[in-house]
């Protein structure tokens, strides 16, 4: 059974066809990378999967359940976790409180202990009591990931989670991702860093102008002319 299935999903904003007939099936435990030029519809795809936007046409299935048009909180409760490209933290709360807030619909009793663990794992313990909007850009990215780790989603969507994060902390993030994957978690990862995509993704989906133009392993897509065109032809 697939974890996630997209069937001809489309969404336009005004005259812009942000996502154009995307179909995609993701198997349990897979790490799928989504790459493509700026504005190719990657983040919009995440917003369609998580219910932030409703598809104009097409269907979204999570574990064979049709979740098209569901409100985001209901989709989240099914076991979908995500980070945002632009961090959307609870700015008036501390780092620690942000993590607690992530557990209000889950295991609240163990949330304080779990929050301390997550802070330590992401090396954020020294800013535990700092307000979220006082954190650096990289720290905010980490805290976003931390919120996802507070829950136990079976599907995690990461939108450029390593952008602006120090290389050593990238390793921390990658270790966390691998560990969760080994425990059975499925990932969809938007990344611009090709080296990272190469090391971590089982399969890669290339988007351009809202469409999937190629899919395959890193070596396969690296040899694909569409990808060359999308990345090199117009310059990234």
């Amino acid at each position: 059974m697939s974890v996630l299935e997209l069937d001809q999903v489309s969404r336009a904003f005004g005259g812009i066809q942000a996502v154009d007939g995307v179909s995609l099936t993701v198997a349990p435990g897979e790490i799928v990378g989504i790459i493509g030029p700026n504005g190719s519809g990657k983040s919009t795809l995440f917003n369609l999967i998580t219910g932030v936007y409703r598809p104009d046409t097409g269907r979204v299935l999570f574990q064979s359940l049709d979740i098209t048009g569901w409100r985001p909180y209901r989709i989240a409760r099914l076991g979908v976790g995500r980070t945002f490209q632009i961090p959307t933290l609870f700015q008036h709360l501390t780092a620690y409180e942000n993590l607690l807030a992530a557990a209000v619909e889950g295991d609240w009793r163990h949330a304080p202990r779990r929050a301390e663990e997550v802070l330590r794992l992401l090396t954020l313990d020294h800013v535990r009591d700092e307000r979220a909007d006082n954190l650096s850009g990289g720290q905010q990215k980490l805290l976003e990931l931390g919120r996802v780790l507070m829950r136990s989603p079976s599907l995690i969507l990461l939108d450029e989670v390593t952008a602006g994060v120090h290389p050593r902390l990238r390793e921390v993030i990658l270790d966390a991702v691998r560990e969760l994957r080994d425990a059975g978690t499925t990932f969809l990862v938007i990344e611009h860093d090709m080296e990272l995509v190469r090391t971590i993704c089982d399969r890669i989906v290339v988007m351009d102008f809202g469409q999937v133009v190629a899919t395959g392993t890193f070596d396969e897509i690296a040899a694909d002319p569409h990808v060359m065109e999308a990345y090199l032809g117009r310059g990234v």
Binding site: T50, G51, V52, Y53, R54, G69, W70, R71, P72, Y73, A76, R77, G81, R82, F84, T88, L89, F90, Q91, H92, L93, E97, L100, A101, A102, V104, E105, G106, W108, R131, R147, R151
Partner: protein, 331 residues
């Protein structure tokens, strides 16, 4: 844990002092203390939706008025129901009304909610002046109870329950985290499984039920109510300004704001016997708070966390941006 014991001791001490006030104050100051308790409770209630929820209600006078009229109508000659029943009915009525207003408007961003609550309160004010059951502009008279101590204790119990419940719900439970998460980012809150619409409606209902109780006690205390005295927009204005002055979104902000504003109000009244100057002072306080003291008087206390909510809210009410999310485009 170590801080918990002195905090409880402090609370018990504070309560003991408050409870003995009727035996320490002369009748004039006892009435002022009763008024402060009422406004501290009202401001605390407004702070739930305004400070913790981030949605500005400009219609809270409606809930105060609903409670007052529930007491005026039910305790009057026609029905003659007991005080407690009138309070309960007022509270339930205000809760239902809040749910009905909140259901459509709390899905939208703050500006719509602010306008809708204001319009509703205006409508209720006009309605009370023409309806027969509310006594029109002439108002209603309640059976007099000339016992100042009774009303002081009634307000004290209501205020203590209000602050106690707020403390538990907003500072010590999941509900508080849900609400603050919604205030800071609805998209992020939803992505974590929080039903943002439900949380906002719950907060608004709670925030509306409390003023109804105070309205009921107030009506019985004053024994005479009319539309402007319990449904006037100045009641909302005072709640808002007290919270801003004390500290928006801070637990003790409303209490500090209520004490200082109410004392200033009384002082002006005894000095010049008019309230025009008071309205000018309200305006000045808002300006000073927004410009120089965004976290209100409570932030003068060392170590207070800077929330800086005032500016965020001012921006939000000024802007008409609909929320991003599926709710706005639900099937």
């Amino acid at each position: 844990m170590s801080a918990a014991i002195p905090r409880i001791t402090l609370a018990v001490l504070g309560l003991a002092v408050l409870a003995s006030l009727p035996y320490l104050l002369d009748p004039y100051w006892l009435r002022i203390a009763t008024g402060i308790l009422m406004w501290a409770g009202l401001a605390c209630a407004w702070n739930i939706i305004g400070g913790y929820g981030g949605y500005i209600s400009f219609g809270h006078s409606a809930f105060f008025g609903i409670g007052a009229y529930a007491a005026g109508i039910l305790m009057g000659a026609r029905y003659g129901l007991p005080f407690g029943v009138a309070l309960l009915v007022g509270m339930v009525a205000a809760s239902i009304v809040a749910a009905l207003i909140g259901w459509p408007t709390l899905r939208l961003r703050g500006a719509y909610f602010a306008i809708a609550t204001w319009a509703f309160a205006e409508m209720l004010l006009q309605l009370a002046t023409i309806l027969e059951i509310t006594g029109g502009t002439a108002g209603l008279t309640l059976p007099p109870l000339l016992d100042e101590r009774f009303f002081f204790y009634a307000m004290l119990v209501a205020a203590v329950v209000t602050y106690g419940a707020s403390y538990v719900l907003l500072e010590r439970s999941r509900f508080g985290y849900r609400l603050k998460a919604v205030r800071d980012s609805e998209v992020a809150a939803e992505s974590l499984g929080i039903n943002t619409t439900l949380v906002k409606i719950q907060a608004f209902v709670l925030s509306a039920a409390i003023p109804a109780v105070f309205g009921g006690i107030y009506a019985y205390w004053i024994t005479f109510i009319n539309p402007t005295s319990v449904l006037g927009a100045d009641i909302t204005d005072q709640m808002v300004v007290m919270v801003l002055l004390g500290g928006l979104g801070h637990f003790w902000g409303p209490a500090i704001g209520a004490v200082s504003m109410y004392l200033v109000n009384r002082l002006i009244w005894t000095q010049w016997a008019n309230t025009t100057a008071y309205i000018a002072i309200l305006g000045a306080v808002i300006a000073v708070v927004v410009l120089f003291l965004p976290d209100g008087l409570v932030s003068l206390w060392p170590g207070t966390r800077r929330l800086r909510l005032v500016r965020a809210l001012a921006r939000q009410v000024g802007r008409q941006a609909p929320r991003t999310g599926a709710a706005e485009e639900k099937p």
